[in-house]
C-alpha cells in the first residue's frame, strides 16, 4: 500500500472533550484514552486528539486482524474443497488434472443457468455438481482411461480439455462476467466493517461436505476400495476390486467437488469463463504443501496458506502477501519434499 499522504497524520492537537465518558477500573491498565469503548466508570475526562487517533488506529488494526483471520479461514475452506478433488484424482490415478480449474468454472456456469431456470441457489448447488460429475465421467471414460498410465500425456490431455472447456463456455456463455446473487443477504458487524453471513454459510457447507467425504472414504464400501487401490493397486485387483470402476468414480467425485466449490464461490466472485485459471495454481500449491495424495493435509494446508496470505496482507500489500504463500511452499519443499503431511 502506497500512501501519498496519511490521512491521520495531520489531525490537529486541539482537545476533544467527550462528555459523559467515564472510566472502568477493570481497564485501568490501559493508557487513558487509548480505548474509550472499555471505559464505563464514573469520572468524566478529556481525550486529546492524539489519543483519539491512537484509539482509532488500534481499533482499525484489531478490526483488520479479525477480518483477515475470518476471511482466511473461509477462503481456506473453499480452496480446500477444490484441492481435495485435485488431490483425490492425483492420489489414486496419479493424474495431474490441469482441467480441474475449468471444472470449477463449469460448476459455476451450470449453476448460473440452473438459477436462471429454477431461481433457486440450493437446487443449483445440488444439480450443478451432478452435471459436472457426468462431464467428468465422459472425460475419464472417453479420454483419460486410454492414457492413464502415461503421466505426461495425461497432463497434455487435461490441459487440452481445460482450453476446450474454456473456449466452449466463451462461445455459449459469452465473455462477460455474470453474477449469482447470494442466497443469504444478511451481514453482521465486525468492528469497523461488516462481514457477509453468506461467507460463513459457505464455510459451514464446505465443512459439512468435507465431513461427508471423510465418512464416505472411511465408512463405505467404495471408500474402502478407493483406499485399497491407493495402497496397492495390484493387490486390489487380485482381491477382485473393480479398479477401473474405482478410477472412474474417483474422477467423477473429484470433478463434482470442483463444481461444488465453483457453485459455492460464485456468489462471492463473478462467474466467467476464466475464473478457474488462477484458482488452479493455488490449488496445486495447496496439494504440494499438504502432501500429494494426503486429503487431510490438503485441508490443513489450504487453511494455513489462506491465513498466511490474510494476516500477511495486514503488513504488506495483499498482492505481495501471495509471495508469503509461495515462500512457505518453497520452505516446505526444501525441508519436507513430500509435503507437510505426506508420507
Amino acid at each position: 500500500m502506497k500512501l501519498h499522504s496519511n490521512i491521520h497524520d495531520d489531525i490537529s492537537l486541539k482537545q476533544f472533550v467527550i462528555p459523559g465518558l467515564t472510566r472502568n477500573p477493570a481497564f485501568s491498565w490501559i493508557p487513558a484514552g487509548v480505548y474509550p469503548v472499555l471505559d464505563t466508570g464514573q469520572e468524566s475526562r478529556v481525550l486529546d486528539a492524539t489519543n483519539v487517533a491512537v484509539y482509532k488506529r488500534i481499533r482499525f488494526v484489531i478490526s483488520n486482524l479479525a477480518i483477515a483471520i475470518l476471511n482466511g479461514i473461509v477462503w481456506g475452506l473453499i480452496m480446500a474443497l477444490i484441492a481435495l478433488g485435485l488431490n483425490m484424482i492425483f492420489g489414486l490415478l496419479h493424474i495431474i488434472n490441469m482441467a480441474h480449474g475449468a471444472l470449477y468454472m463449469l460448476g459455476a456456469v451450470v449453476a448460473w443457468y440452473l438459477i436462471e431456470v429454477t431461481g433457486s441457489f440450493w437446487i443449483a448447488l445440488i444439480i450443478a455438481p451432478l452435471c459436472v460429475g457426468a462431464i467428468g465421467l465422459i472425460i475419464e471414460r472417453g479420454l483419460i482411461r486410454t492414457i492413464e498410465d502415461k503421466p505426461i500425456t495425461t497432463i497434455i490431455c487435461t490441459f487440452g480439455v481445460m482450453l476446450a472447456v474454456q473456449q466452449l463456455v466463451l462461445m455459449i456463455f459469452g465473455g462477460s462476467p455474470r453474477r449469482i446473487s447470494p442466497p443469504v443477504a444478511y451481514r453482521f458487524p465486525l468492528f469497523e466493517l461488516q462481514y457477509p453471513a453468506m461467507r460463513i454459510m459457505i464455510a459451514l457447507i464446505s465443512i459439512v461436505l468435507m465431513i461427508g467425504l471423510w465418512i464416505f472414504l472411511r465408512k463405505t464400501k467404495y471408500g474402502l476400495w478407493m483406499r485399497a487401490v491407493v495402497q496397492d493397486r495390484e493387490m486390489a485387483v487380485g482381491l477382485g476390486i473393480p479398479v477401473n470402476k474405482v478410477y472412474m468414480w474417483t474422477f467423477v467425485l473429484g470433478s463434482a467437488l470442483a463444481a461444488f466449490s465453483g457453485v459455492l464461490a460464485a456468489p462471492i466472485v463473478s462467474v466467467e469463463f476464466m475464473m478457474g485459471r488462477d484458482i488452479l495454481i493455488m490449488a496445486f500449491i495447496i496439494v504440494i504443501v499438504g502432501g500429494m495424495g494426503n486429503l487431510g493435509g490438503s485441508v490443513l494446508a489450504a487453511i494455513m496458506i489462506s491465513l498466511i496470505q490474510g494476516i500477511g496482507s495486514l503488513f504488506v500489500p495483499p498482492s505481495i502477501a501471495t509471495v508469503f504463500a509461495l515462500a512457505f511452499m518453497i520452505l516446505v519443499l526444501m525441508f519436507r519434499p513430500q509435503g507437510l503431511f505426506g508420507e
Partner: protein, 438 residues
C-alpha cells in the same frame, strides 16, 4: 485400381477428337460469356484500383472479450456502411480480422501477418495497452497507420508514443481532467484509489491523485492484481476517513470490487466513483443492486434517453447500424450489454480514413505520412459518422478529444447522466510533436 481408372480417363480426354466446328463454337461461346460477364452488376468495379485493406484485431478470447466483441462488431458495421456508400475514393474497403488473445507477443505476430501476408494498408482495434506497445516497433518499421481501439494508457499519445499511432478516444489523463474536479467538489476531499496493479490502474490513480493532492485533498493508493476475486483483504485497508473510493478494474474484478464494497458495508460511509471502463459490456443488473448510488465517468451515454438531444438523431442511426437497442443492449440478445463508451472509436475511424484519403489523394503507403497528418488534423462535427458529438483531433500528438459525462446508477439500475463535461475541459498541453518525426 484408382491409378488405372484415372489413367483411362486421361486417355479418353486425349483421344477425343475436336473438329474445327467444335473449336469455333466453344471459343465463340467462351468469348460471349466473358464479354457478358463484364456487364454483370459487380459492387466495386471503379477502375483497376485494388481494394483498401484495413486490418483489425481485438480481444475476442482470453480477456476483455466484452470489449473485443463490440469493437469487432462496430468495426464491421462501419466498413459495411462505408462500402454501401461507395467505398473510399471509389475503392472497396476490405477488412481482415484477428484475435489478439490479450497477448502482446501473439498480437505482434498478428500485426506482422496483417502487414506482410494480408497486405493491410492500416490497422485498427484492441483496448489492450500492452498489445499496442508490442506492435509499436512494427508500425514504425513498416510505417503503417495504427488506430487505437480503446487503449487507456495516456502515455501512448505522449512520451511513449510513436508517430504512426492515432487515438480518437479518451484515456486516463482526459478522464482525470473530466472527473476529478466534479468528484472533489461533490463527493469528498479524501480519496482512496483501489486500482488494478498494471499500467492502466496506476495511470488513473496517478492522474486523479496528483490533482486531488494539488487541490488540498488526501489520497491513499491500494493496488490489487487484475485477477483478484476476493477484495476483502484490500477493502479492509481502506482508511476509515476515506470519503471517496475510486476503483479501477476490468471484467469480473470490477464486479467483485463494487459488490464486495457493499458486502463489507463501506458504501454507507463513502462514495463510490469509477470509470465506465470497469463495467463496459456488463449490464448494471449483473453488478446488481450493489451498484446503486455508484458514480461513473462515461465517454458516451449507454442509454439512448441520456444522449444529449442534439445528438439523438445520429445516435439512433448509429445504434441501428450496429444492432443496439435504446437500452444499450444487443438487438435480439438483451442479456448482452454494449461497450457503449468505447466501441464508437471503431465507427469513426473508417470515416476519418476516408476523409484523410480524399484530402491527400492517398493511393498507397508512400503517402502514409500525409495521410496521418491529414487524419490527425480533422475537426469532426457531430453527424451520422460522429454520433458522439464534435471530435477534435490534435495533430501534434495524434490525440482526439470528445465530451465526457458523469453518471450515477439509479435504483432502476440505469446510468443517469448528471453532468456533461465539454471536450475543451479535458484538453491538456501535448507532450510531444509527431509532425517532426513522420
Amino acid at each position: 485400381m484408382v491409378e488405372k481408372k484415372s489413367k483411362k480417363k486421361v486417355e479418353g480426354i486425349l483421344k477425343k477428337e475436336i473438329s474445327r466446328r467444335d473449336f469455333i463454337k466453344t471459343t465463340a461461346l467462351g468469348a460471349a460469356g466473358l464479354s457478358l460477364s463484364s456487364w454483370a452488376p459487380v459492387p466495386f468495379t471503379y477502375g483497376a484500383e485494388p481494394p483498401i485493406k484495413i486490418g483489425m484485431f481485438n480481444e475476442y478470447t482470453v480477456f476483455a472479450t466484452e470489449y473485443g466483441y463490440w469493437l469487432g462488431k462496430v468495426g464491421k458495421a462501419a466498413i459495411a456502411k462505408l462500402n454501401a456508400e461507395g467505398g473510399i475514393a471509389k475503392r472497396k474497403v476490405e477488412l481482415v480480422d484477428y484475435d489478439t488473445k490479450a497477448n502482446p507477443a501473439w498480437s505482434a505476430s498478428m500485426f506482422k501477418k496483417m502487414i506482410l501476408e494480408d497486405k493491410a494498408d492500416m490497422i485498427m482495434g484492441s483496448i489492450h495497452s500492452g498489445v499496442h506497445k508490442a506492435c509499436f516497433p512494427l508500425a514504425e518499421q513498416y510505417k503503417i497507420p495504427f488506430f487505437s481501439g480503446g487503449a487507456m494508457t495516456y502515455e501512448l499519445t505522449g512520451k511513449d508514443g510513436i508517430p504512426y499511432y492515432i487515438r480518437n478516444h479518451t484515456h486516463a489523463r482526459t478522464q482525470a481532467l473530466a472527473g476529478w474536479k466534479w468528484g472533489f467538489d461533490n463527493l469528498g476531499k479524501k480519496w482512496t484509489f483501489l486500482v488494478a496493479d498494471y499500467a492502466w490502474g496506476h495511470s488513473l490513480a496517478r492522474e486523479f491523485g496528483s490533482r486531488i493532492v494539488a487541490a488540498g485533498g488526501k489520497t491513499q493508493e491500494i493496488r490489487a492484481p487484475q485477477a483478484t476475486q476476493d477484495f476483502v483483504p484490500y477493502l479492509q485497508k481502506v482508511d476509515p476517513d476515506t470519503e471517496v473510493l475510486f476503483t479501477a478494474f476490468l471484467g469480473s474484478a470490477a464486479l467483485g470490487v463494487l459488490r464486495q464494497t457493499v458486502e463489507v458495508g463501506l458504501h454507507k460511509r463513502l462514495q463510490r466513483y469509477t470509470v465506465i471502463c470497469c463495467t463496459e459490456g456488463i449490464g448494471q443488473e449483473v453488478v446488481g443492486k450493489e451498484s446503486i448510488g455508484a458514480y461513473y465517468i462515461e465517454y458516451h451515454p449507454r442509454h439512448f434517453d441520456q444522449v444529449p438531444k442534439e445528438l439523438q438523431a445520429y445516435d439512433k442511426a448509429y445504434r441501428k447500424a450496429c444492432g443496439v437497442t435504446d437500452d444499450g443492449r444487443e438487438v435480439g440478445n438483451p442479456k448482452v450489454t454494449i461497450a457503449g463508451s468505447h466501441m464508437w472509436s471503431m465507427w469513426i475511424y473508417p470515416y476519418m480514413i476516408k476523409l484523410g484519403i480524399e484530402q491527400t489523394g492517398w493511393k498507397d503507403s508512400k503517402k502514409n505520412a500525409d495521410l496521418i497528418n491529414a487524419i490527425c488534423s480533422l475537426k469532426l462535427k457531430a453527424g451520422p459518422w460522429c454520433p458522439v458529438g464534435d471530435l477534435d483531433m490534435r495533430v501534434q500528438d495524434h490525440q482526439g478529444f470528445t465530451d465526457h459525462y458523469i453518471s450515477k446508477v439509479e435504483p432502476d439500475l440505469k446510468l443517469k447522466v448528471l453532468h456533461r463535461i465539454p471536450k475543451e475541459n479535458v484538453m491538456y498541453d501535448p507532450e510531444i510533436d509527431f509532425r517532426k518525426m513522420l
